[in-house]
């Protein structure tokens, strides 16, 4: 091999060149921007599939009586809707944003482990292909609720091993993604960017990544025990064999509660980026924000049994989990107050990302209030497993996490595509989403308080009015999201060219606004210096 050839070879790989042509680009890419885009598109597809399932649910619940589906299929819809939204839509969307933005925000040329990055994305595709395949198995799809409680889950037909293997793959994918993010942040920050100079989005993701590594293996273990109980005669969770069905719930929620923060912490990061930019003011209480995020993450490990107040825990246990859960209100409150203080005496403008961030601020806080109410164990004996909890977690997940993700898409899409989105349509999308999400979920508080249990396909006639309102909201919200898809497609195709800074004065808010728009295929080949 001659010297010139070696040089030519090196140039192939390291000089400024574009992506490979055709489908190979997407199958084999190790570029953080391509992989970020794939995660985001995947998440959008899952959001639409999971949303269609939600509409099946809301259509059946439009009026009392059974009109459309069998009760068993209804249970499959609630189960798979949740699994898809949690593991297929919200989590991959935040991973996609992390892929795109963390290298740009910390001044790194790419993710630290680019091949693993590609692998973790394609594993996710395999995982959800299996999960969707499980819908067509003899005995129907998984129908035990997304929490997969035994003994009920063990009555699942051939879908069970598929769903469990899907969870294993999705979990492996998440763990790899998390490792990648930690290694990237720890090793590839630009010179001068100390941890406490890092923007909030990478910060919240760093903490989220540790949560993922801590709890995904726990979940994988729990579902593996289900698998051996079902196929190999173990009795981890079968009372008849000396096992314990409640043990599963403890293990599940030890994963499940941090999982909630895995979905919301990156959203906190996003909102902490957007509010300062459109307030034209630095984030208020940066250090407090970082410490609040870390304390929420810590507390998330010691509150799990508040999901299980009705299983018959000893008094001391109920007391402990009630008090530890109430504590979460303190760091969460700090965050909300800091965002508000960031706007105080700012110079606010209301571009679409800011509108979504503001809706997040109000509506997530409402979800926080209902969360605080449910922390009170004696009252939770009434709220538990009713539509009140359905309203609560949808408030923190839809106008919470999902709105933050939409805010992020509008905020960074001009950087990705080089075009401004159609601002008029985007504002229509915002207002329709913001109005319908409340029509959809607010009445569910009433239904729950009035006594409607969750996960039922039909209900007593006293619940008819608010169910109809909620269903109208659901269809309105669902249709609005088709507009979102169109806006993204249109922005990818073309539109008004944007500057590197995109948003007036954004340059001071992050390194991503110092690279050209659209961001070139390779950025920060030479690390920027942060003062």
């Amino acid at each position: 091999m001659s010297a010139t050839q070696t040089h030519g070879h090196a140039a192939d790989h390291h000089d400024d060149h574009g992506p490979a042509k055709g489908i190979t680009r997407w199958l084999t890419t190790t570029n953080h921007k391509d992989i970020g885009t794939m995660y985001l598109v995947f998440s959008l597809v899952m959001f639409l599939i999971g949303g269609a399932m939600a509409l099946v649910i809301r259509a059946e619940l439009f009026v009392p009586g059974m009109q459309l589906v069998d009760p068993g299929f209804f249970n499959t819809m609630t189960t798979v809707h949740a699994l898809i939204m949690v593991f297929g839509a919200v989590m991959p969307a935040t991973v996609g944003l992390a892929n795109w933005m963390i290298p740009l925000q910390i001044g790194a040329p790419d993710m630290a482990l680019p091949r693993m990055n590609n692998f973790s994305f394609w594993l996710l595709v395999a995982a959800f292909s299996l999960l969707i395949l499980s819908l067509f198995m003899p005995g129907g799809g998984p129908a035990s609720g997304w929490t997969l409680y035994p003994p009920l889950v063990l009555q699942t037909g051939d879908a069970l091993p598929l769903a469990i293997f899907a969870i294993h793959l999705a979990g492996a994918s998440s763990i790899m993604g998390a490792i990648n993010i930690i290694v990237t942040i720890m090793n590839l920050r630009a010179p001068g960017m100390t941890l406490l100079k890092m923007p909030l989005f990478p910060w919240t993701w760093l903490i989220t990544a540790y949560l993922l590594i801590a709890v995904m293996p726990v979940f994988a273990g729990a579902v593996t025990m289900l698998l051996t109980d079902h196929f190999f005669g173990t009795t981890f969770f079968a009372a008849a064999g000396g096992g314990d069905p409640v043990l599963y719930q403890h293990i599940f929620w030890f994963f499940g509660h941090p999982e909630v923060y895995i979905m919301i912490l990156p959203a906190f990061g996003i909102v902490s980026e957007i509010i300062p930019t459109f307030s034209r003011k630095p984030l208020f209480g940066y250090d407090a924000m970082v410490y609040a995020t870390a304390s929420i993450a810590f507390l998330s490990f010691i509150v799990w049994a508040h999901h299980m107040f009705t299983v018959g825990m000893p008094l001391a246990g109920e007391m402990f989990f009630m008090l530890s859960t109430m504590l979460i209100a303190v760091p969460t409150g700090v965050k909300v107050f800091n965002w508000t203080a960031t706007m105080w005496k700012g110079s606010l403008s209301f571009e679409t990302p800011m509108l979504f961030a503001l809706a997040f601020l109000f509506l997530f806080t409402i979800g926080g209030f209902s969360g605080l109410m449910m922390a009170i164990a004696p009252v939770d004996f009434q709220y538990h497993d009713t539509y009140f909890i359905v309203a609560h977690f949808h408030y923190v997940l839809v106008p919470g996490a999902v709105f933050a993700i939409m805010a992020a898409v509008y905020y960074w899409m001009p950087k990705w595509t080089g075009h401004m989105y159609d601002t008029k349509l985007a504002n229509i999308h915002f207002w329709m989403s913001a109005i319908f999400v409340n029509v959809l979920f607010f009445p569910q508080h009433f239904l729950g308080l009035a006594g409607m249990p969750r996960r039922i396909p039909d209900y007593s006639t006293q619940f008819a009015d608010w169910n109809m309102v909620s269903s109208i909201g659901a269809f309105g919200f669902g249709l609005s999201q088709l507009l979102f898809v169109y806006i993204i497609w249109k922005c990818a195709k073309g539109g008004q060219k944007v500057s590197a800074e995109v948003w007036d004065g954004a340059r001071v808010h992050g390194l991503e606004w110092t690279v050209p728009s659209p961001a070139p295929y390779h950025t920060f080949d030479e690390a920027p210096v942060v003062k």
Partner: protein
């Protein structure tokens, strides 16, 4: 334009629907219920709700004020401050104090809920897919309780029966649990197949029915009447169709009812004994029902 119009039409539809529903407070809020615990729980619920409303008014007020006042379009010049230690300490400490204020009454009620002493009647509840079994453990009476036939017919896919035409649609059973008024009833809760949860909102409590576990809860109903609830833990295909109905009778009526149950059981047991080889326990229960009906 079309979309705006559609939103407007939907909005009007909502308004039309919302106004009658608004009329009934019990349709949008927790029930006060008929037991000491349910009233205490309701009180706690309202206390926390109002605290949340007060905090919301303050926090949302500041947010709305900021949004309305500090606008670039109004020529607002941004300040440059990025922290204020005094404010940060205040909004960390005040929430802690509020939480302590909530935790004290909540803990007190929790202790009371946990106190099973001094019960005057014990009933064992067993969840099955998809019915309840009630056993009066000290009186030798037990029976199953399933969704009433009228509801069951109406709830079939495309039954053609309007749910509104069925009295207590999905909240009616063939054999309700019967308990005496004003007595502390201890409920032992378990399940035979998967996890269920036994819940009567008017008694303020729900508890999971778990195979291999016997959970406890108690209530003392102050008013005679019929109280309705549902299974509250997903238990499979017909989870939505296993209501809980409890009839609270005066002590005298309850005693008479219990005596009739015991007599019917004995009467049914005699002929049943002769044909024991072919009569299953379920048939026996059916026989008891027939006898009671007569």
């Amino acid at each position: 334009m079309k979309m705006v119009k559609r939103a407007f039409v939907a909005g009007m539809a909502l308004f039309g629907l919302a106004s009658p529903a608004m009329a009934a407070w019990s349709d949008v809020n927790l029930r006060v219920g008929v037991t000491e615990l349910s009233r205490e729980i309701y009180g706690l619920h309202m206390l926390i709700l109002w605290i949340c409303v007060a905090i919301a008014v303050a926090v949302f007020g500041v947010m709305i004020y900021s949004i309305a006042t500090f606008r670039k379009s109004k020529g607002a010049v941004p300040a440059t401050f990025d922290h204020n230690t005094k404010a940060e300490v205040i909004w960390t400490v005040i929430p802690v104090l509020i939480l302590v204020g909530m935790a004290i009454p909540a803990a007190r009620t929790l202790v009371k809920i946990d106190d099973m002493r001094g019960s005057e009647l014990t009933v064992k509840v067993t969840g099955y897919q998809w019915k309840w079994q009630y056993e009066y453990v000290d009186h030798g009476v037990s029976f199953f309780s399933t969704l009433a036939r009228t509801s069951d017919e109406a709830r079939q896919l495309d039954s053609g029966i309007r749910p509104e035409s069925v009295e207590n649609y999905l909240l009616e059973v063939d054999n309700p649990l019967v308990v005496p008024q004003g007595k502390k009833v201890r409920v032992l809760i378990t399940a035979n197949d998967v996890i269920h949860a036994w819940w009567v909102p008017d008694f303020g409590m729900k508890k999971d029915a778990i195979p291999g576990y016997i959970n406890e809860m108690w209530f003392r109903a102050d008013e005679p009447g019929i109280y309705r609830g549902q299974c509250a833990e997903l238990c499979g295909r017909d989870h939505g169709f296993m209501p809980v109905v409890v009839e609270v009778k005066s002590q005298a009526d309850f005693d008479a009812w219990l005596a009739a149950q015991q007599a019917a059981r004995q009467a049914a047991a005699a002929p049943a004994a002769q044909t024991a080889a072919v009569v299953s326990p379920v048939d026996q229960v059916a026989a008891v029902r027939v006898a009671v009906a007569e």
